[in-house]
Structures are given as C-alpha cells and as structure tokens.
Amino acid sequence: MTTTRSLRSDPPTILPPGATPPTEPHRPDIGSHPHRVLSVEEFAARVQAIETNLGRVIKGKPEGIRLLLNALLAGGHTLLEDVPGTGKTTLAKALARSIDGHFKRIQFTPDLLPADVTGSSFYNPRDGSFTFREGPIFTNVLLADEINRTSPRTQSALLEVMSEAQVTVEGQRRDLPMPFFVVATQNPSDYHGTYPLPEAQLDRFAVRITLGYPTLEDEMDILYSQNDRHPLEDLEPVLTTADVVTLMEQVRSVRVERAVAEYILRIVDATRTDTRLRVGISPRGSLTLYRMAQARARIEGRDYVKPDDIRGLAVATLAHRLQLDTKSRYGGALPQQIIEEALEKTPVPR
C-alpha cells in the first residue's frame, strides 16, 4: 500500500483549553475515514488503543511501549538494546498485529548478504525474463534481530531503506509499503563476533529503547498469562496500516513554537562543543528530536510541543548518536550522562 505524503499547510482547528471536547466513542473508529482530520482527543484515543493492546502482551513496560509508538508515529525506527529474552521480538510482533500489518524478521548472521535483505531477481526459464522476488524488507514491521552480528556490508543495505523507505535493487527503485518500521535489536552484553553499528546507521534510528527486566510481579503475571497459549495469538488489530499513515501525517501538523525549536538547537549545540565527544548531534538528530516531540505532543493529546516534551525525549533520542572520545569512554563517561548534563546546563524557554 502506498500513500502520498502531504504536509498540511493550514493548522487544524484547535479547541481552546477548558472547552468541552466532542463526545468520544469508546472504541476508536477503526479505519473508516483514512484521511479524515482527527481531533487531538481522537488521535490520543487511537494511540491509547494500541498501547492497551501491546500492554496485554508486554507487561509492566508502558514507557518502552510509548517510546516505540512515539518513534513509529514520528516516522523513525527503533533500536532495542537488551539482553535476550526480555520481549523484543514479541513487542515487534504485537505491534505488527495491532496495526494489522505485515511482520517479517531477519535474523542477522555474519554470512548474510545484502541481497538476502533486499531481495533479488530470478531467471524465469519459461519466458526468459527476470522476476524480482521481494526480500524480507517488504513489510510493515521489520524485526532486524541481532543487527550487530552481520557484516557492515549487509548493515549498510539497510541504510537507504531506513532513511528513504525505498530500496534500489539492480538499478530499479522500489517503494516499500507504508508504514515501514524497523525494530532492530542488539544485545549489549555480548560483544563476541559482532560488528558495532556504523555511526551513520546509528544516526538513522530515532530512539534507542532498553526494556530491562520486568518487576517480579509482572513476571509472575507473564508466567500465568502464557499458561494455555501466548497472548500474542489472541491479539486483535485495533488500527489498520492506513490509520497509522493518517496518524503519522497528523503528527506533522503539531505546532512547534520558535522558542522550543531554539531549545532543541541549544541542547544540540551543547553536545557539539563538549570536549568529551568525538561527534556531537547531527542535524538529523535535531530533526528527529523535533519530529519525536511532535509525535509525543499528539500522543499526550496536545497540538503543540512543550519544552517538557524535549526534555522527556532527549536522552532516548540523542544518547545513542554520541561518539565519545577514547579517554572519556575509558574514563567511564556515559552518553546518557552527557545528554543529561547538557539538559542541566541549558536554560529552558519560558
């Protein structure tokens, strides 16, 4: 499914604060009007529906789920960094199912080739033609499992795909279905036989999420909920992919006051002047933060971005883009800390 992307020029009608919102249906109106302008409340309700759905499968991690949806709606991709067995794959599958989309998974191994990812042409002896067989990236939700286990050559096959949502194979450009959402995972504790992700690729992930272990109560819940069957199998779609595209479009109409944009730039500038860093935040990073903040405002039922949004997203969105210099890395400095320090040093707009 392809959809033309259009940036709305006129802002949507906005309700003054305190005004009574229009009556809201209990269940969101799934996919009935793909291009209808949604009210802030309608938008938030749809996101809420996915969140509830995912929450049935991934217990006790509402922040992780929300960040994932935030990245999806901002049109970015997600890097899940966690030890094995914390629900990375389940989360990606559940998301695909919730938005009624296709889910594919690539298990990255050292001998994986770019063509295995993108697809390749096969000779058809019957009519003497070449037929393109789509690779696993032609999907809505792509789980790139253990992405750091494959060679940089194969990793770079994902570059174009991730930033442009299109793939060029044998000189022919092919669009990917929309939405196209990559959930890549990597295991932070095991570095044997891995190829650390190139900076260029790291920069293409909107957020890095760490789920971490669930609390013991939640884990008990997980044990019993999977007694008969996996809750994933019972998961019903709450939105269609067309709905998601609509939501993604609506994100762009969120208002970002000039002072808030200036706040983003100040934070980014602080990282560029930090002597502990080899590479600061790229303009792509500030753009992502901008878009993520818009999505977050929408998710929280607002049509404008507050400085709080920037502060809430800065670490998840920016930290993985930083390259520490050797001395600081071995000195024990953490990228998260540097972003936090930049936040502590930068006055907020008021």
């Binding site: 002047t273 400085p307 502060r311 000195g331 400095a333 707009p349």
Partner: protein, 689 residues
C-alpha cells in the same frame, strides 16, 4: 526570558574517576611547598605529594562504603604520630608547639590525599571545600608563624587559586535561600568551636596537668629523676616503662651507661641540678687524639630513640675514650661537673662511643673521668656535718682491717649488698630527717631501692675520705638480635669512687635482685612491633638523609612544579563550558511575561525558586513529590526543593502552568486564556499567607 549564564563549574566528572578540581590541586601544592619550607624534608610530605599526584594517573577509587577508607585513615594517623613521636629540633621557635603544628599539617594533608582517592558521586564541591579548608588552614598556621620569603612568594597565587575554587560556589549560594538551615548549623558550629577553643585556652594549665597525670609514662620521671635533681623519696622514681630509650650496636664496655653525676648531698637531695651546671660548647675535646692510640678499642653506635625533654643527655660508660657526635652541631657538656653531655638533636639520634678494651686498659680514665682538682676533691668529700659522726663510725666498723682504698670500697659495697634488701618502695620514718640515715640505721634494716644504695655508698665512702659521687643512668642488659636495647625501666643509680692510683671506678652497691636485669621480663609484643616500625622509619629517614639536602630540594621542587604543571594542564584541558548562547530565546508576549513574573514572585515568597534549566511543570511535580514524602516521613529530602508547599497551592500552580503552556507554546493567546491565567494567579497569590 533571556539568559546568558556561563557554566561556572566544570561538568561533573563520572563518579569513579573523579579528580580534584585543578585550583584545589594547585592550592594544595602551594600549601605543601609552604609547609615544606617550614618543616623541612619530612618524609611524610613526600608520601602525600606522591599520593596526590598518583591519584591523577590511576583510576581506582575508594568507595564511600569501603573499609579501606577507615583503615587507611587510621594507618596514616598512626604513621603521622610515629613520625612525630619525637620532639622537633628547634623548640621555641615560632608560635605554639612545633610538633602539634606538624601533626596538624600532616593530618590535613593526609585527609587531602584520601579525598583525592575517594570516589565522589558527581559532587566536587565537598572535595573542594575540604581541600581548600585544609590547605588554607595549613597555610595560615605556617605563614602566621614564619616570616619567610617563600611565603611572600607563595601567598598571592595561593589566594588566587583559593578564590578560583570558590568561584564554582557562586550560583549554588544564590539558589540556597531555602537552605538557610545549613548556614545556621555552620554558624552554630563556629560559635561552639570558638567557645570550646576559649575554654581550652582558659584552662590550659589544668588540662596540661590532667594530661600529664594520664601519661605517667615518662614525663614526671624524667623531669625529676634523670634530668633534674634526684630526690630520695618513698618510691623509686627512676623505674619506668618498657619504652625503648637507647638502641646500641656493638655494645662494649661496662653495662653502666652514665648520664650525669652529682656531688653535693643535702638531706636526700643530690645537686647540682641540671640548670645549675656549667655547660659549655664542645670543640674537639670529645674526640681526643689520645683515643686513636688505644689498641683494639671498640666503637659502639648508640641511637637515642626518644625525646623526653628539650635537654637530652648522651649516655656512655665511664671508660669512654671518645664520643663521635654524629649529626649534632649544638652539643655541649660540663666536664667540671662530672661530664654530662647533652645535645638537642631530635631522635632518632645516633652517636658513637669509643670504648677501650677492658683487658688491656682496666680502669681507663676517659673523657668522663673528671680530673681530680683540689676543688673537686673537696666537693666529692663533703658531708653534712650533722650526719658525719654516725657515718664515720659505721664506715670504720665496716672497713675494719682494710688498708687500701679499693679494699674499703669493696667492703662497703659488700656490706650494703649483704645486709640490706632491695625494695621498690621505702617506708620513710619521718623522725629521722635524713633519708639515707633512715635507711642505714633503722633496725631492722628496711628495704630500699637503688637510689638509697647509691647514696648510702657515696656517703660512707666520703666518711672514709674517699672521693665519691652519685651517678644516674641506665643499666644495659637486654640484647635483641645484633642490638642491645635499653628501656626506660633500666634506669639505675650507682656510685663512682676515686681510688688513689687507679682513678675513677664504678661501684654498684645495689643487690643483684635490685639491678634492672633482675626482672628482665622483656617488653610486650606490641611494643616490639612498634619498635620494628620505628627502626624501619629510621632506616627510611636515614636513606632520605643520605640523599643530601640539595637533592631533596630538587626532588621536592620537581614534585611541586610537576603538580602545578599538571594543574595547569588540567586547567587548559578542562571541559569547555557552554559558550554564550547563539541566540536568545524568542520572547513571549508582554502580557504573558508579566503574568509569569507574578507567578514566580508568588512562589519565591514561599521559598520556592524555579531553577533556570527545568520547566515549571517539572519543578512543580518535584515540589508536590517532596511534600508528599515529607508528609510520609519527616526528614526525607528531595533534591533542590527544600520547601514544603500546601497541595492546594501546587494544584493552582499546575493549573496556571497548563494555561500558560497552551498560551506560550500553543499559540492560544486569547482573552479567555488570559482570563483563566489571571484567575489561577489570583488563587496562587491568595494562598500566600
């Protein structure tokens, strides 16, 4: 709202490798240099300097919960006390007690070094405070005491570095209106401290006496017995602890190591006192050329391990032919008064004594054998007239049949040894004014200690017209490996008699069971351990001393310069503060700015300020959380929000901010919103008491 706050403090370093900020390092090294110029090459100073510098190069840090911190501090303290167990060389120079000042300075330097090695949870201010406090106090004490060109040079940069260290405090102090409590505590501590100091100063004498009574180890004993004038009392006041006084290598000669001799007796008191002696400087007399002609003489090396008082004696056997003064340049002696030699050099002080072989030179008349002049003979024969008749009668009875002086001496010593018993205490009969007569003539004979035996022997000899004098010193008997060790409890008193044709001889009338070796139980294990450490330190000090003053100066200079250079490098490579912002934030509508100024003022009146780098909503949430926490348990502290506000106020504040954000960032700046903002603001201002 525009702002251009340059980040004053360098970014907090990660906890595990936190280093002292560079101004602290520089100030500490300057203070160390000042201290060095005062105290000289104290070995510990090198330890601390190296320790501080090393903390910059090694990553390991001591955590707050580490036992290493406690034991390390304990060990350093022990080390400092050991190194300062001796009296400093020049007493009376400068203000106050040199030793306590040294200990003070070294304890603070040790604290500074420990602080360098501690992990700090992202809070360099504590380290800064401690570092600068110690450096400053040290500098103050030293510079108050000494007028020196070093200080004139070092003081200005020191002040600059101190000021730089405090620079980082600036914005903290601005934000701490709510933290008044801490300032109160600080002020109260200062007041209490001043009061305590005043109390100590006012009662200094009483406190010193009290302290002396607790430390019975050596002070009273040395003052009265060894150093001052011996007074025959009920208790033996020479008997002391097992503290090691002398360590002797190549022990030779008589076991009686004499300190000083006394010639005048009046009713149980021997004189002259130490201060009455006619001391004069020593040139070459102590190493006479005649000593070189003695064959097979032995050189024993004596090391004095303690400093009891400022005037320290050198102990040597009577036969000593020469004394090598070691590193003492201020030695003097009183040869006419029985030859006590003293030197103020602080322990461990090593000197040499040349002793001729006894078989070849029996009764060798060395340095300490006072030339027998008529004047001195008169002194050594003087007896109080009231006791002379009884003494003469007794002495003649004892020495009946003896014709030679030597035989008479032997007879008297035998008599005292045979018929009198030894006892540490003596029961004085006050009807007899003279204690020695009490000892000699009471029936049955009373037990007494060596002072009585010695005194009685001298008086009996004098009654026989044999010149004699009373000698105090140590009786050496304990060997430990290659060394002979003399302890405080080996203190002893005996007699030197002048025998015609032989000269001065040593005579000890104390019965065998009263000699110090009779109860040679040895020292306790901990004392031996202490002595081992003492010896090791002496070894280290000797080694450093061998480097030569210039080399030491050079090493220390390199350390100081290196420390300063490193601080400079740290300064140049410090984390760059965020420069002035490229642009000011686009300002809000004037009406909104006015409203938010009122909002901030209303909260400021309640003691809550909004930090520049956090949003209003965040800070209000924190205030609410800290309020709840305080409600739940008293004393819980949430960071940077030390005030508790009523929940209704916080709710009103949150409402205001919701409208404000919508207006400021959502572009919703209409009359309705302004009215809603005004309403919420009224509510907040009404909450204010």
């Amino acid at each position: 709202m525009t702002s251009s706050q340059p980040a004053a403090s360098p970014a907090a370093a990660p906890p595990d490798t936190a280093r002292m900020p560079w101004p602290v390092t520089a100030a500490a090294f300057l203070a160390m240099a000042g201290y060095y110029s005062v105290a000289g090459p104290a070995p510990l100073l090198f330890v601390f300097a190296v320790g501080v510098v090393a903390s910059y190069f090694f990553r390991g840090r001591i955590g707050d919960d580490s036992v290493l911190r406690v034991w390390g501090r304990f060990g350093l303290l022990i080390l400092i006390l050991l190194f300062n167990a001796e009296e400093p060389r020049y007493v009376g120079e400068g203000l106050g007690n040199v030793r306590s000042r040294n200990i003070f300075g070294q304890v603070y330097l040790a604290e500074f070094m420990i602080e360098c090695w501690r992990s700090r949870p992202n809070d360099p201010t504590r380290a800064r405070l401690i570092g600068i406090t110690c450096a400053g106090l040290l500098f103050l004490v030293s510079s108050n005491t000494f007028e020196d060109r070093f200080f004139r040079l070092l003081t200005p940069p020191f002040i600059v570095f101190t000021a730089l260290s405090f620079y980082g405090w600036r914005d903290r102090i601005h934000n701490r209106a709510a933290d008044l409590f801490r300032w109160w505590v600080l002020a109260a501590t200062l007041v209490l401290g001043v009061g305590f100091y005043g109390g100590v100063v006012a009662n200094k004498t009483a406190l010193t006496e009290w302290g002396n009574r607790i430390i019975t180890d050596r002070l009273p004993m040395i003052e009265t017995g060894m150093m001052g004038q011996p007074v025959l009392g009920e208790l033996f006041n020479l008997r002391g602890s097992a503290e090691r006084v002398l360590r002797i290598e190549n022990f030779a000669g008589d076991a009686h190591l004499r300190g000083q001799a006394f010639d005048t007796y009046t009713q149980g008191r021997w004189s002259p006192g130490f201060m009455e002696r006619r001391f004069r400087g020593v040139s070459e007399e102590l190493t006479p050329a005649s000593a070189d002609r003695l064959l097979n003489s032995k050189d024993m090396r004596v090391t004095r391990m303690v400093n009891g008082t400022a005037n320290m004696l050198l102990y040597a056997p009577l036969q000593a032919a020469a004394i090598d003064r070691g590193n003492a340049d201020d030695m003097d002696w009183a040869p006419e008064d029985g030859g006590p030699i003293r030197s103020r050099v602080r322990a461990p002080y090593e000197y040499g004594v040349t002793v001729p072989p006894e078989d070849r030179y029996p009764h060798y008349q060395g340095l300490l054998a006072t030339p027998m002049t008529d004047e001195y003979r008169t002194k050594c024969l003087r007896l109080p007239e009231e006791i002379r008749p009884r003494l003469e009668a007794l002495a003649r009875k004892i020495t009946a049949g003896e014709t030679t002086d030597l035989g008479k001496v032997r007879a008297i010593v035998d008599y005292l040894m045979t018929w009198y018993t030894y006892s540490l205490s003596f029961h004085r009969d006050t009807r007899e004014p003279d204690p020695v007569m009490d000892f000699l003539f009471s029936e049955p004979h009373k037990g007494a200690h060596c002072e009585y035996f010695g005194s009685a022997c001298v008086l009996l000899l004098r009654a026989l017209n044999i010149p004699a004098r009373y000698v105090t010193g140590y009786y050496a008997h304990e060997t430990e490996g290659q060394y002979t060790v003399v302890r405080q409890k080996d203190a002893h008193a005996w007699v030197e008699a002048y025998v015609k044709g032989m000269g001065w001889i040593t005579a000890d009338a104390t019965p065998g069971d009263g000699r110090p070796d009779a109860d040679a139980v040895g020292a306790e294990w901990w004392r031996k351990l202490f002595e081992k450490v003492q010896d090791a330190i002496k070894f280290a000090t000797d080694w450093i001393g061998d480097l030569g003053q210039n080399n030491i100066n050079l090493i220390f200079g390199v350390l100081v310069v290196g420390g300063l250079a490193y601080a400079g490098v740290r300064y140049l490579r410090r984390p760059r503060p965020v420069g002035p912002p490229l642009f000011a934030y686009s300002s809000a509508d004037a009406r909104l700015s006015a409203l938010v100024a009122r909002f901030e003022a209303a909260f400021a009146k309640r003691g809550a300020r909004f930090p520049e780098h956090r949003t209003y909503a965040e800070h209000l949430a924190d205030l609410a959380a800290s309020g709840k926490q305080r409600g739940a348990e008293a004393g819980g502290d949430a960071p940077s929000t030390a005030v508790t506000l009523p929940p209704t106020l916080i709710e009103a504040g949150k409402r205001f901010i919701r409208y404000y954000d919508a207006a400021r960032f959502g572009g919703r700046l209409d009359e309705d919103t302004l009215a809603a903002l005004e309403t919420a603001l009224r509510e907040i201002e009404a909450e204010h008491p």
